[in-house]
Every structure is written in C-alpha cells, then in structure tokens.
C-alpha cells in the first residue's frame, strides 16, 4: 500500500497534466487526466472555523468534488491514506510581488529638477501615477519563487508591482507550476496604491502631504476625465485609473499613523481601502478599529540588537526595544480589537520566517482559528474570491496543503501542497517514525544505534557507553537509507546503505579499510531514554520563561513619556498664585483660578469648589499656555512640497505626527498650541494646521477645532533657491522680481477659475486654485515667511490689488522698517526675538524689531521655528524687555495673546478669562525669567504635563529600558541578532528642509 502511494506521488510530481492547454497545439499524444484523488482519514480544516476529523477530501479536475466524514470514494479515484495528517485550505497573501519584473526607474537626464514625468506616451504628468500598469500583462510563473510560497502554505497571491503611488492593477494568481495561463485566477483583482512614489525620479511629490494632495487631485481628475471622455485629450493613466475604481483598493502605508491618513482619504472619496501596514498596528488598535479599515498585517518581527556593550546600548531607542518585545502580539491584539485583517509575508527578508513568526504570534495571543481566518477566509473575502478559494468546499479550487500535524504547533510541517489539484512536494511524506534503539550488526561487530526524532528530524547516534556517543550521518529517502560513522578508536569511516522498513533495516557497505560487508539493524524493545540535560537547565528555562512573560505596556503615543491611559479633564482650583490674565485686569496677585470641563470657570480670591483638585500656587505664577505661531514639530515625512512654485493644495493637516517627542518636551516648556507651518521652499506653500499639544491623542484629535484655515507663503532667498547649490537654478522664480509674478499669476488664475465655477459649465476641479481663491475671498489666511522690507511691501501691494489682507508676516525681520505700512495694511508680525546673520537677507535684523512693530500698533508675536527653542519661548519674550524695555505684560503677550490673535483663536485661548479654554501653565517663578520652570501644563483642563509625574515616568522609563536590554541580551532565538543597535534618524524640521522623511 505504502509503496503504491509513493509511486503515485512520484508520478504526480513529474508529469501530471490535468488539462491540456485548450488553445495550444499538442506535440505528441494527448495525455489528459482528471486528477481524481481521495484523501482519507485526515483532519480537515474545511474552513477557518470548521474542522472535521477522520474525513475524506475528494478532488477532480482541479476542483473539490466532495468533502466530509462520510464521502463515498469512487473506484476511479486514487486513494491516499492521510491518517494523522492535517489538511488546510491554502493560504492567501494579498501583498506580494510574485512573477513580475523588478520595477525600474526611467533614466533621469541630469541632476536638475524634473518637473514632469519622463515616461513617453499619453500618460499622467506624474511619473508615480502608474494606473496603466497591469500585473496580468507582465506576470509569468516563477517556479523557484513559487516553491518558496508553497512551502509557507501560500496557494494564492495578489501580486502587483510595488512601484508608485497608483501602482495599477494586481492579479490574483496561484502558486502552482506552469502554464502561466492556468495560474491566473483573476487578472485584474485589485487596484494597489501607496504613499510612496517608488522609482519615480520626478521631483513632485517630495513629501507625504504632496502625495496625499496628488491623490486627492487625481480622484477629481478621474471624475473629470470620465465626463469629458477623450474629447479634449487622451490620458491613458486617468483612463486606467477610472477602470480600477470598482476593484478592491489595496493601500500600502508606512507606520501606523498613515493608516489614519489613508482611511481619511478613502472616506473623502468613498473608498474603503484594504490597508497594508508595517506590523505596528497594535500601537493604535482602538483608533484603527474606528476607521473601519481592513488590514493586511505584516509578520515581520524585529530581531534583537546586540546590546552587551552598554555604551552601544545607549544608541537603542526605547520605542524600538519595546516594539521588539511586543511585535509578535500585534496580530492577537488586532483580533481582540475586532479588526478584520489578513496576514502577509510583507517585510520578511526571508519567506521561511513566515511560519516561524506565525507560531510566535500564536504563542503571543493569536488563536489558531484567527490565524487561519486571516490567511484564508479574510483575504479571499476581501478580494471577492471566496467562491473559489479560502476554504475547502465542493466546487472550490483544490488548493490545499497537507501537514504532518497541527501546522501551528512546533512540529507541524507542510508536506505536500496541492495547487489546483496538482501536487507539489514540500517534504517527503515518509514514515519517519524510525526512532528507537537498534541492534546494529556489521559482520560480527555489534553496535548500539539510537535514533531520536527532534523537530521533525531524525538524529542517529552510536552509543558506546554512558558518556560516549558517536554521531552518525544519514539520509533516508523513500525507504532507502545510507549512513556512516567513525567507530571509536578508528580513523576511517564505516559507510553503509540499504533499505529501512518497520524497524528492520538491512543492506551492505564498506568498512574503514574497504572491506565489503553486509549489515542489519533491528529495533529492539528497549525504551529510548530521554537524553539527559545538564542539571539546572530546566530551572533556568523556567526562569527564562517567566522573564519572557513579563511584557511592557502599549503606551500612547508609542514613545517614552507616552501614557498607558489617556489623561482626562478634571476640576482644578489653583490657589493663591500670581495670575497673568492678559486681560484688562492685568497681573493679579494672590489669586485663585477654578477650571472645569476644559474651561476656566472663575478667577478671584478665596474661591471654593467641591471635588476640585487643589493646587497651591503660592509664590508661583499661573498663565495661559504659550502659543507658537511658527512651528514645524509634529509633522510626518516632509515639511516642504517645494518642487513647484505653488503647492497651495497641500495640507500639513494631512500629515500631523502625533508621535513626536517634541510635543511632550514643549508641554514641559509651557506650550499648548502651535501652528504647524509648511516650509518656505516656494512662494506659495501649503496649508497650515493649528494644533493643541494633546500628547497621546491622534493626529485628528490634536487639531484645534473650528480654527480658520491658514496657508504659508514665502519670500526671499529660500523661494529663490539662493542657497541650494548649482543644480537648483531652473525653477521659476529665481529672483524677487519673479516672486511677485508668481503671486499675481496664481491669483489671476484663481479668479479665472472662479469664472469657470460660476459659468454653470462643467469644469475640472482644481484644489490648488480653490485654496488660492479662498485667500482672495478671505476664507483662508496667509502667514508669510519674509525678511526684507521691499518684498514685504510687495506682497501687501499684491494683496491689496486682489482685495485681501496679508494676515501675518512671519520672521518679518525687517518689519521694523515698514511697521507703519504693515499697520496701515492690517498685517501682523510674528518674529524671532534675536535671530540674525545666518543669511544675507537677515543682515539688518535687529532684536528691537518686535517692540518697534508693537509700538507702531502691529500685533506682534515671537515664534520658534525650532523644536528646541519652542521649549523656552517665555525666555524669548523676555528679550523684548531686555532689548527694548517693553513692559513685561506686553512682552508676555508676544508669546500668548498676540499669536492667538494672529491665528484668530483669541476667543478661545491666549488669556486667562472665565469661559476661555483652560490651557494653563503653572510656573515656578516669574514666567519671563530664565529661572522659571513650567511645573504643570493643562490643555482643555487636562493636565498633560506635571513635573512630579514626569519624574516618575523617568524612573519607569529607566527601569523598562534596563529590563528590555537584559531581555535582549538573553535572547537566543534562532537566526541570531541583527547587530549593533540602529535607529531611525528623526528630522527636526526647519523652514528650508526640502525632503521627505521616508520610513
């Protein structure tokens, strides 16, 4: 019986052809077979949640004919006894690049800026929009790759070329062998998108926000193109884009926050993306769940670093250490949160790690059922392919694999993988149960031969006595065995070969001296004893396991100083403090402030409140929070989209990084609100975001509710690219003369656009022009990076020509020269206290600038433009006192009330007043003094910073770090460590940083 079965398999593997290629000519005699097989006595996972014992699987012509416990086996079926085996539906990976050519860049001509796509033909203006790429046109079976997929259980893949923002269509293919024609299950199965421009060498987009803007505009362009057909022009990319819209949409993103960004984009355009993340989703499960997105989850788990050297260990980020520990919990945590997800090999350097990591994930909390669901039902369902794959049911494809055991247990192994009814051998289905003690007789010589099975492999030894064993090399295939060893006190090897069946081996071979001998080995009845482990190892192991069981918490954000629980608003009563109201009342001594539900309730003496948390403000100062008009913290992947003279359509609000440690550090400096500005690389930059520093919240939650829209403009050296090197000499404008024309041109076009809008005719929606129109219509407000008086004056004149007011000049280092003109125009100034001499256009900058503008009636703020300086803006404000004898109260307003006015949020923040937001700071000293420390900082009445709490967190951080380093040092996972620690470089953005921060 067994022999027959082996024979059958050999046949199968070598020459089975289920169907001849229908349209192809046949050279020779037709050999059509129906591939009729019955697998009996197996444990079959009919679907992820349905297991049948002792069941039969009947297949024919590549499909399942019947499945179940009582299936009648036709005589014409080849019967295979699968007793003890487990049969699973093949896995499906939705994120693969299999059988497709490697993406290649289109040759770039020089190092100068590339404004348009270099792809020839009637395609998109942007090289990263490759909707026209169809995987089906390029796919062919790759046998050696297919084998790797099958070995990990994968029978079907959504394959696409990972290149571009719109990557075109992916095909659903099977991992069987040729012909390619039969391995494509659905040629156009999904549209794949990403936030990465791939091989495109075009400058735009250079930032994540530019990428998002490009996608938004493309959705609009697609709709426009659909209407106009090919009337005005042919655009094959847009045409293809439209064709892809009805397919499942797969979106590849970087770290966790990009899931929110993709989901938000999808919401705007009515798409539910299947989002492929990077394996860190557990850090934000609740919020991801709220997006309703399905996920493709990577099983990439970081390897341990080498941290034996404590100096080097300092280089490891705590967040990375924590992720190393918690990453295997990711799938389990997602399942618990009720998020629909699939599992993927994405990110694994070696596909072989997939099953290993899957078992790790199961050990870390993912149930076997959930694992199976995420690999079969969920992906099949997301692609609408569940009628064919994803479970073993009558009529579905015969796509399954046979495992030696429960696949998810340590000794589970995939033996055969059948794709479309065709077998592929992963590992010989041999009866490897040869373990036992054998009496080996070679001629007259007797040996004690012992076979042990470990991890599915046999280990053979000759046992001489209690302390001496000789290793035996062997090979066992299809009942044929050969083995060799060097006997004690001998230099030569004995090499033997023969047959091995049922505890009875025999054959012939040579002794060390070449003598030809016959041999036998017969299993005796003695029990195979456990190999004795060195003493104490068990105990060590137990301790190790206990240590392994201790795990860190998920904190929000997933950084040092993150919260394990979000802080909540409470009722606070600060007593007996010096209160800087920024109102007519001025500075009040020995005063109490009561705040509750996020608002200031009462300011006065001897206030009482039930249930309020009392805070002694004696000899302390209570102020409103600092407002930074010009900040670039908390921004992901690029602060500039400076590749074009105007990028009015891009929005910082799309790329808020709620996981920037500088948010917390700045709370520690008393900052509560910041305007996150686009950089100054182009005359018309992007739209700003005003945020409150709600540490631990999501990007959307950080936004200042209901705030007006702002946009960054810029003048001078940066927009002229004066200091960018010789390659940057071709983008318009290169002079101040050109800058004026950029503004006039764009506003003129915006007005033309308005005419189109009002014409009643259909028109192409243009996000850039819409933003510019908002400016003209005073619905969006400019914060303009500026230095020299001439161009400052110029912009005011341009604004007046188009009938609006420049809201704020930021930097405005020569504002003191034109303060009267600014006042007359109605512009405010947000400047540095004392920066100068760093470029030519700031040679006339003076630290008296703020006070002079202020004295001329301009609303003046001091800003940071710098992650470090923002932590001590109170000291910067004091410099107005030092250089210009400004009153302390007015100086304080430079960093509080005045920026609030410039941002149109002074009805909510910027002073301590009943009814206003409880964004407050308690200072240890006079807030303008260099000696003052922010002791507590509240935003909306929620205490986000408390120096006493901070102290506790430091201790906890130190302890957790120490624990993780110990654990990493002790890690002896197979595959070893990744090497010395390494961490992502995190950019601190300034105005003129022009690059994306790729993940």
């Amino acid at each position: 019986m067994k022999n027959r079965y082996f024979f059958a398999l050999v046949l199968l593997c070598s020459s089975l052809l289920l169907n001849a290629q229908e349209t192809f000519p046949q050279n020779g005699v037709y050999d059509q077979r129906d591939g009729h097989y019955a697998f009996t006595n197996a444990t079959i996972y009919q679907s992820y949640n349905q297991k049948i014992e002792n069941a039969t699987l009947l297949i024919k012509n590549g499909k399942i004919e019947a499945i179940g416990a009582g299936v009648v086996i036709p005589k014409t079926a080849v019967k295979i006894d699968a007793k003890g085996k487990h049969i699973y539906p093949s896995f499906i990976d939705l994120y693969a690049s299999y059988g497709l050519p490697e993406p290649e860049a289109i040759q770039k001509r020089d190092d100068k800026p590339q404004f348009l796509s270099n792809k020839e033909g009637a395609y998109s203006w942007n090289e990263a929009l490759r909707s026209e790429f169809a995987a089906q046109m390029h796919f062919s079976v790759d046998d050696s790759e297919a084998e790797k997929w099958r070995a990990q259980g994968f029978g079907a893949l959504l394959t696409h070329q990972a290149n571009g923002i719109s990557r075109g269509s992916g095909s659903l293919v099977l991992t069987g062998t040729d012909p390619t024609h039969e391995m494509i299950l659905n040629p156009k199965a999904a549209h794949v998108l990403s936030f990465s421009k791939g091989k495109s060498t075009q400058d735009f987009p250079s930032s994540l926000m530019g990428t998002i803007a490009l996608l938004r505009q493309t959705y609009l362009d697609g709709a426009w193109y659909k209407k106009q057909g090919h009337k005005e022009q042919v655009n094959l990319s847009l045409n293809a884009w439209n064709d892809l819209q009805e397919l499942p949409q797969i979106f590849a993103v970087g770290q966790r926050q990009e899931i929110f960004r993709a989901a938000k984009l999808g919401k705007e355009f009515g798409k539910k993306y299947i989002i492929r993340g990077t394996g860190d989703e557990y850090m934000r499960t609740e919020e991801i769940k709220a997006t309703g997105s399905s996920l493709i989850v990577s099983l990439k788990f970081p390897k341990a670093y080498e941290l034996e050297n404590p100096f080097d260990a300092l280089q490891a980020d705590l967040a990375d250490l924590k992720h190393w520990e918690l990453a295997p919990e990711n799938p389990g945590r997602l399942a618990k949160a009720g998020i629909n997800f699939t599992l993927s090999t994405h990110g694994l350097k070696n596909k072989k790690d997939f099953l290993t990591n899957l078992r790790k994930a199961i050990k870390a909390g993912l149930s076997e059922e959930q694992a199976l669901k995420a690999l079969t039902y969920a992906p099949a369902n997301l692609l609408g392919a569940y009628a064919d794959i994803g479970s073993l049911e009558k009529g579905k494809l015969a796509n399954f694999f046979i495992a030696s055991n429960n696949l998810f247990s340590e000794d589970g192994k995939i033996l055969h993988h059948w794709i479309k009814g065709k077998a592929n051998v992963i590992e010989e289905w041999s009866e490897n149960k040869i373990s036992g003690i054998y009496d080996l007789k070679i001629g007259a010589q007797k040996y004690n031969l012992q076979v042990r099975e470990k991890d599915g492999k046999n280990k053979i030894e000759i046992v001489v006595n209690d302390s001496t064993e000789i290793k035996v090399k062997h090979s066992l295939k299809k009942g044929l065995i050969h083995f060799s060893f060097t006997p004690e006190n001998s230099k030569g090897k004995i090499a033997l070969a023969g047959t091995a069946k049922e505890g009875q081996w025999s054959g012939s071979g040579t002794l060390a001296d070449g003598t030809w001998v016959t041999w036998t080995a017969k299993r005796n009845d003695k029990m195979l004893g456990e190999r004795e482990e060195p003493e104490g190892k068990d105990k060590d192991k137990k301790e190790e396991e206990e240590t392994a069981a201790i795990k860190g918490e998920v904190v929000y954000p997933f950084l040092p100083y993150g919260w394990s629980e979000k802080p909540k608003a409470a009722t606070y009563l600060v007593r007996n403090a010096t209160v800087w109201t920024n109102e007519a009342e001025g500075i009040l001594e020995n005063t109490d402030v009561l705040f509750k539900d996020g608002k200031v309730m009462q300011i006065g003496k001897n206030l009482q409140a039930a249930n309020a948390i009392l805070i002694d403000g004696t000899e302390k100062h209570l102020t409103c929070g600092i407002i930074d008009e010009h900040s670039h913290i908390a921004i992901s992947r690029g602060v500039n989209e400076g590749t074009q003279a105007s990028s009015a359509e891009v929005r910082i609000g799309d790329v808020i990084n709620a996981e920037d440690i500088n948010i917390y550090r700045q709370l520690g400096g008393g900052v509560t609100t910041s305007q996150l500005l686009h950089g100054s690389a182009n005359p018309i930059g992007g739209q700003s975001a005003i945020i409150k520093l709600r540490w631990g919240y999501t990007p959307e939650e950080m936004k200042f509710e209901g705030a007006d829209g702002f946009i960054k403009f810029a003048l001078g050296e940066n927009v002229k690219q004066s200091n960018w090197g010789d390659n940057q000499r071709i983008r318009f404008p290169q002079t101040r003369m050109g800058v004026e024309q950029v503004f006039i041109d764009h506003f003129t076009r915006a007005l033309e656009y308005k005419k189109q809008q009002q014409s009643g005719q259909s028109y192409r929606r243009d996000l850039e022009l819409e933003a510019l129109l908002e400016i003209i219509e005073s619905k969006r407000f400019i914060s303009c990076h500026s230095y020299q008086q001439g161009e400052i004056n110029m912009l005011m004149k341009v604004a007046e020509q188009f009938g609006f007011t420049v809201n704020t000049f930021t930097h405005i280092l020569e504002g003191y020269k034109v303060a009267d003109k600014m006042k007359a125009h109605g512009a405010g100034g947000s400047t540095f206290s004392d920066w100068w001499a760093y470029k030519y256009e700031v040679i006339d900058a003076i630290p008296h600038n703020g006070a002079i503008m202020h004295d001329q009636g301009v609303v003046v703020a001091y800003n940071s433009d710098d992650a470090e300086m923002a932590r001590r803006l109170n000291q910067e404000a004091a410099k107005a006192v030092m250089y210009s004898d400004l009153s302390e109260e007015e100086a304080w307003k430079f960093v509080t009330l005045n920026p609030a006015k410039l941002l149109h949020i002074d009805d909510r923040v910027g002073s301590v007043k009943a009814g206003k937001d409880a964004d407050l700071v308690l200072w240890s000293d006079h807030p303008l003094s260099v000696y003052a420390k922010a002791e507590m900082t509240w935003v909306d009445g929620i205490k986000f910073f408390d120096r006493a709490e901070d102290k506790k967190m430091r201790k906890a951080i130190q302890e957790e770090r120490a624990r993780l380093i110990q654990k990493m040092i002790g890690d002896d996972s197979p595959g070893g460590k990744s090497g010395p620690p390494m961490k992502k470089f995190k950019h601190l953005y300034h105005c003129d940083d022009v690059h994306d921060e790729m993940h």
Binding site: F311, L314, A878, M882, F985, E997
Partner: protein, 432 residues
C-alpha cells in the same frame, strides 16, 4: 548742498550717528572706581557691597566696601553702581565669531579649511575685527572669545581674543592657545539619497581613530628631534601639545567617544579637555578620576535621546559642578554668542549655584583655556576686563549692560542693531 544740510540737520536733531563706526577704545587714562555693586568675582565668590578699582588696565582694588579704604589721591573717576552687578568679562570658547559674517554666504565663511589633519591652520589670521556681529555680542557681556576653526579631524588652532581691537594682532591675547581635534563618532547617520536614514554603527570608527593615533605618535616622535628633515609643518604646529605650551581640545559628545578621547589624551600625557561633551553626566566618576576638563555645549540643545530626561541639557552643568569637575559653558556659532550668558542662567534654574554659573562663563573658562594668569576673574592684578549690568546679567529679564571695560578701556556698547533701532524709531517719531 541744500539737501545735504537738511540731512545733516535731521541727524543732528535726533542726535544719531547712523554711520557709527564702533571705534576701539583708547587706553585707560584715568583710574576708575566702581562703588556699591554686587561683584561676582568669577571664581565662585561674590561681594555684596563692593569697591572695585582699576588703573592702567589692571584691577588694583577689589573687596567689601566696609573693609577697604579709598585712596583719594588717585583721582578716581567714580561710577556709582549701587544695586547693580559687576561681572568679569564673559568668555566665549569655541566660537566662529569673526570667521564668518553671514553663514549662508560662502565668501564670508572662513572657518573650515580643506583637509583632514590641519593642526597648522591658524584661526587668528582670518579673524575679522570689524565684524558687525562682534559689537552685538559684546553688548551682552561677552568680552573675550576663543576663535576656533571647524571641520575635518583636526581643524586647526584657536586663539583667544579680546573683542575690541583694530586688527587681529592687537586682538589676540593668547595666540594659538590650542589645537582642536574632532573625535570620530562611533555611531553615525547613514543615509541614502534624500532620506534621513538611520543612525547606525560607524564601521570606520576604528580606522578613523587609528589615523589620529598614528598622527600623534609620529608628531610626538618628531617633536623629540632637532633639525627635522624634512620639515613637516603639521608636526611643527603640534609640538606645543607635547611641551605643554598648547592645549588639546577634543570635541566629542557620546559616552564611547568621550571615554576614548580621555584615554587617548592620557596616553599622550595631555590633560584631557573635552569640548561639547553632552553625555559627560553619564560618566562622572571616570571623568573625575582622569581629571578631565569640560567645555560644555548644548544647554539649549534637545536631549540627545527620546527617552532622556526632557531637561537633561539644562541640568548637566549642575551635575558637573556637584561632582567638582572643572567646566565652562560654550555655544557653537558666531552671533549666537550673545546668548551664552543665558545658557548659564538657564542652568541655574536647574540646580547650578549662581556664582558657579558666573565662573563657568569667566574664571573657569579662563583656566581651561589657559589664560587665567591674567584674566577671567575680578582679582587684584588681573586685567580690568569687566562689565556692569543694572540687573542680573544671566537673566534676559533683567540683564542691562551699562558699562564694559576691556583691559581698563571703556568700550562702546553700541552696535549696528542699536543704530538701526534708533534710525527707524526716529523715522516713526518724525511722522508723529
């Protein structure tokens, strides 16, 4: 003709000289007595109600008013500084002041020479005494500076200057006082294209260290000889390191680099002076044991790691002081030097005793730079390089310089920025 009279008239009217030239002050001709001030001596001591006199550029009297007698025959010009503060002139080590005028304009940058090992490069000859930046730095109390080249492994030699001079020769007070060495980083940013990349192990670290070791070994051997053949300018310039006439300033930040730098210096028989030294607080006992001196940078840097205490840079100075490690404050850049005093002030808020903070801007700095024999503190016989502030000069809220003296010369506290302030205030006044 008519219009020029009008222009002149306007200038006269507002008492402004918009073309002020900041002429270096003449030698001290009259003895000066400052009474009643709180004198911060720069050596950790303070005198509440002080008398301080100086003559011919040197301090001739300093002490508690009640314990001193004023010699009426001296014909002092007296400055009543009651309620005010006197400080020794602050010293800015490691600065590019005068080597660069406008950072973004290449033609004004003279701090970085081509080449890896440039011990023969001398900053002093590129030092521009007419920089428009210098007076703005002076007017916040920084009266001396160590002009320091940058770049490469050995950028060259620094010189300590006083900030009121006609040319680099009379500016210099300690010419070629030291050689600077940038210790290689054991971990560094690795990037491809425009991506920020990662911070990973520097696989060339050992090799880079070996280049330094080899250079020093050969320079030292060279210094032992006479009549060198061939003459090697780099080795010639380095000789002073081995006879003690020049200091070695090793710029390093991380624990590994600092440790390696200290051991290296010791092997050379040189007192280790570490510049930057952000991680110094982590290896206090080691630094103490090896008698290292620290020129501390980055009070106003962000913490070097995400998990580090958010105020670590603010409090490092206090830690060094508490451990008794000699240190002084330092800040990279040129115009930024005017904020050096506030870095010290900020450290006071985080536990550094006030007088220690003053010392780390003056007396301690002088010691570490090797100029303490003549300057850095308010002590008898030392240079009368000092200033009077109406309030606490380490706090921007109160700092207000009224007089400053370099070697007894009363210097002009005006600067280009004050001129522009006046010029444009006058414009608006005139409009009223």
């Amino acid at each position: 003709m008519r219009s020029s009279i009008i222009v002149f008239g306007i200038l006269f009217l507002f008492g402004i000289n918009v073309f002020a030239q900041r002429t270096p002050a003449p030698e001290q001709s009259q003895a000066i007595l400052i009474t009643g001030a709180t004198a911060h001596l720069g050596n950790g001591q303070v005198i509440a109600n002080s008398l301080l006199a100086f003559e011919k550029g040197k301090i001739t009297m300093i002490g508690e008013a009640s314990s001193l007698k004023v010699d009426a025959s001296k014909n002092y010009q007296t400055i009543d500084a009651t309620g005010k503060h006197i400080y020794p002139g602050f010293i800015a080590p490691g600065t590019t002041l005068g080597l660069t005028e406008i950072d973004a304009v290449r033609s004004t940058r003279d701090m970085r020479e081509v080449g890896l090992l440039n011990p023969n490069i001398r900053s002093i000859i590129a030092y521009n005494t007419d920089s428009k930046i210098t007076p703005t730095v002076r007017s916040n109390g920084v009266l001396l500076a160590e002009i320091t080249p940058e770049g490469g492994r050995i950028p060259g030699q620094s010189t300590v200057v006083q900030l009121d001079a006609w040319n680099w020769e009379d500016a210099a007070i300690a010419t070629d006082n030291g050689i600077h060495l940038n210790w290689p980083r054991s971990f560094k940013r690795q990037r491809r294209w425009s991506t920020p990349g990662t911070i990973a192990e520097n696989d060339q670290y050992s090799e880079q260290v070996r280049v330094i070791e080899d250079f020093f070994a050969e320079a030292k051997a060279y210094a032992n000889g006479t009549n060198p053949n061939p003459l090697n300018l780099k080795f010639e310039a380095s000789k002073g390191l081995f006879d003690g006439s020049k200091k070695l300033f090793i710029h390093a930040q991380g624990v590994k680099e600092l440790t390696a730098a200290v051991l290296f210096a010791q092997e050379q028989g040189i007192t280790p002076v570490l510049v930057g030294a952000q991680d110094a607080w982590r290896i206090i006992p080691f630094l103490k044991e090896h008698q290292a001196e620290i020129i501390l940078n980055g009070v106003h840097n962000l913490p070097s790691r995400e998990e580090e205490d958010i105020d670590q840079p603010y409090k490092t100075a206090a830690t060094l002081h508490a451990a008794g490690i000699p240190f002084c404050f330092y800040l990279t850049g040129s115009w930024e030097q005017r904020n050096l005093p506030f870095q010290a002030g900020h450290s006071v808020g985080y536990g550094l005793p006030y007088e220690a903070a003053v010392a780390a801007l003056s007396g301690s700095t002088a010691k570490i730079l090797g100029i303490d024999a003549s300057t850095g503190t308010l002590e008898m016989g030392k240079d009368a390089t000092l200033f009077i502030s109406a309030g606490d000069a380490l706090d921007m809220r109160t700092c207000k310089l009224e007089h400053a003296f370099i070697n007894g010369r009363k210097i002009d506290l005006g600067n280009k920025q004050k001129d522009l302030d006046r010029k444009f205030r006058a414009k608006y006044e005139a409009k009223k």
